[in-house]
Symmetry: C3
Subunit: 329 residues, 3 copies
């Protein structure tokens, strides 16, 4: 009896819902479409195809299998089969990468109302140039891995770094994306670095220029802006920002494509959560930037910049510590 | 011979392991079950079904396909088919969303030992209200996208922002979750914003109230607490915390559902890693908060708050820089 | 006509590309292989198998289903079937975990050119020890969940915490990885904690020692280093670093396996983005560390350490706030 009552109640609800559903969805669709007639919406309809996020993720994973053979696969490799394995992987990579590059270029042409007859040719050529960049990229990444082992006492082995270090993941993806950025591929480089950003919390713009033996430890919250320049053997920690000064709302357009970010010279170490902003901030070689500081000016070579200890207040049981000593020494 | 020896050794090991396995697992199961008889454990047995994480992720992705038609699909859309596409997507979204809302509501009722005869009806109605909110949501998100292009010289196109900006992803998911939060759906809104937190490193509580044209750049480490209020055209950077002051352990309960977080008025800019805590912190319109500062009080309108440059010590080659100038000018 | 012209053009491009492709890929493979003959590259060829990332992710998810029965599955559980469910899950967990442990141990032996006849036996035994640790682990995690509800006014229910709190995810994975770290399993523990780091932005080294009722709120950017010790009922917020002082390049090796990280005593609270570095930093019981401070020395028990308010400059409309009061009170 109860069951029937509740059953009939449910039926009533269902039919009520059905009526509302039959009215609500067409009306919501109509409103969504209407909002497209004004200029307040974004859609991608009747346009050239655009790159597809999942395909870009596959490209990154395949390139990693080529750059670190044997690490990111369950396929057991040996010296004899390695050549065939790499040849097959590279052919697949070329196919999928050239497709996404062509889509990105077609989309870029469309945006500026340009004809796009050569997109396919240019896209394929660019994909080949990327393939050619893989051997030198591999050598550069090997130096990054050594820098991680040299810089972190918690690193137990190269395998630890290759498997687990988010810094290496972010640098690997950045170095791939930078090759495509330099080859003037639109959209794709940023999709790639944002994939790494999502995984590692490390946001390196594909336009940044970064030297050899670069090590990012922990890394969550690191930001490296588009026009940043970083020398060799630089080491940075989690939360470090190499960013731009925020611009007045009416000045943003005139700063596009201009130098807006810091320059970090060789052998600099930047501790966690330090913020270095603007193109005037040139951090001289071998300097050490302490944690949590905020810098918008240049620092000469061989300098330590630290937060002043009297900047802290001790309340309660503690006594104010003196600031006469260098806490890093 | 060696092979047989090692084979027999392995067999011995296997049988040893088997014996241990035969003992260990039942004993571990028993201990796990025993721990459930006391109050020191959490399980979800004999209870109403609960929302399922993977289903929530699908809901978010489907809603994104509706809010940004054509961007997150390989299906090529045109003006003629768009209406049918949106209608079909919305119907699917209603089905999966209403199911998860009903599960969340049933679970909430059970928690307070309340009968739940109307959960299905209320859940379906709530899902319809969510569907109705999509067209206005789309217009609000369009303003967020424009704010990103206006605020970031590194943004090359609207597509760049829609595809790649973690800030837009976090804001999109927050705005959807906030609709469900206002409709008093339990569990689900927080699962949604934590999904975005995991991807983007940006933690916006679904209860926060955020105005139009909101832009978060980079974003990793951003925290926006439950009772935060944010005006229009506010711009914040990575690592910014709009949080609560930590409470004494015995005071936590009396602060639930009370205002505990800052208020940020229109046109404020907050630089990276600034921390603003507590409901007394009201940041006046058009103010600029510098990076890495820590604020628990109000700031009047049209004010710049910066870390004092003499707060830094330069050791070595550097000379102490003077603090007489405004580093943002 | 146009179509044919463009068709023939495309054919030309294709054949050009084909030629380049036929040359480029073998040459790139050759260069990649050549780079392996020098010592500038990393590969994993002709070596013992290594643990597989996807398998480790499955292990973590299965262990979570055992530790929180009924929460992370669509299977509806009841008291009668629970025992069989747990037994089946544990057997599967043993199978997959022992396999990955054995692979990790074999890889470790190979690295030091040691024979590895006992890897399988040791691996299986270690997997059993892990299974045995699950019931006590479950009780410890229950205390972590209670600490979250006690510490966060925004927590609506235990379910909210179990489903959505990234801090609980990171602590759960850390506590599992720490068991394997103590059992001297190579590679695997760090792969596990880095999986959580990727999802939650919280980087807890498996070697850290952490007491009961640990609560991390929000959590993005948190770093807890390898030799950190944390007492009971400690509460930390997003962006907190418990790290090591950076070492001179030639001193890194002598610090491996030595205490390099802080000690945090019972009942300490550490606000967002505070940085505490080095083994000399012992934070006394019941102390409160304010946000954004940078500490390399000890703090006595019952002390508050705050950033000095005069460390800020107010420019424009604002008046300099006085520093005479304790902003936390």
């Amino acid at each position: 009896m109860n069951k029937r009552a509740s059953g009939s109640k449910r039926q009533k609800n269902n039919s009520q819902t059905s009526v509302s559903l039959a009215e609500t969805i067409p009306s919501a669709v109509k409103n969504l479409l209407a909002s497209c007639d004004s200029d307040v919406c974004f859609d991608h309809v009747d346009a050239a195809p655009i790159p597809y996020h999942e395909a870009v993720v596959q490209i990154i994973q395949q390139a990693r299998r080529i750059l670190f053979p044997g690490y990111f696969t369950q396929t057991r490799l040996d010296r004899v089969s390695l050549e065939y394995y790499l040849g097959q992987q590279m052919t697949q990579l070329f196919d999928s990468l050239s497709k996404q590059i062509v889509l990105s270029m077609q989309h870029g042409c469309l945006r500026f109302d340009q004809p796009c007859q050569q997109c396919t040719e240019r896209g394929n050529k660019t994909a080949l140039q990327f393939i050619q960049s893989l051997p030198p990229l591999r050598a550069v990444l090997a130096k990054d891995i050594r820098a991680a082992l040299d810089g972190d006492p918690a690193a137990k082995s190269f395998e630890d770094i290759i498997f687990s270090y988010p810094g290496l993941l972010a640098i690997t993806v950045y170095r791939m994306a930078h090759v495509l950025y330099e080859l003037e591929v639109p959209l794709l480089p940023r999709i790639m670095t944002e994939y790494a950003h999502g995984l590692a919390g490390i946001d390196i713009h594909p336009g940044a220029r970064i030297g050899e033996s670069f090590f990012i430890d922990h890394g969550t919250g690191v930001v490296v802006g588009e026009t940043t320049e970083i020398g060799d053997r630089v080491r940075i920690y989690q939360g470090v920002t190499l960013g731009a000064l925020s611009l007045p709302r009416d000045a943003v357009d005139q700063y596009r494509n201009k130098k807006r970010h810091p320059t970090i010279e060789d052998d600099v170490i930047i501790y966690s959560n330090a913020t270095i902003l603007g193109e005037k901030a040139i951090i001289g070689a071998r300097s050490i930037i302490g944690g949590n500081v905020w810098i918008t000016d240049s620092v000469p070579p061989d300098t330590k910049v630290l937060m002043n200890v009297p900047g802290l207040v001790y309340i309660g049981n503690g006594t104010r510590s003196t600031a006469s000593k260098d806490p890093l020494s």
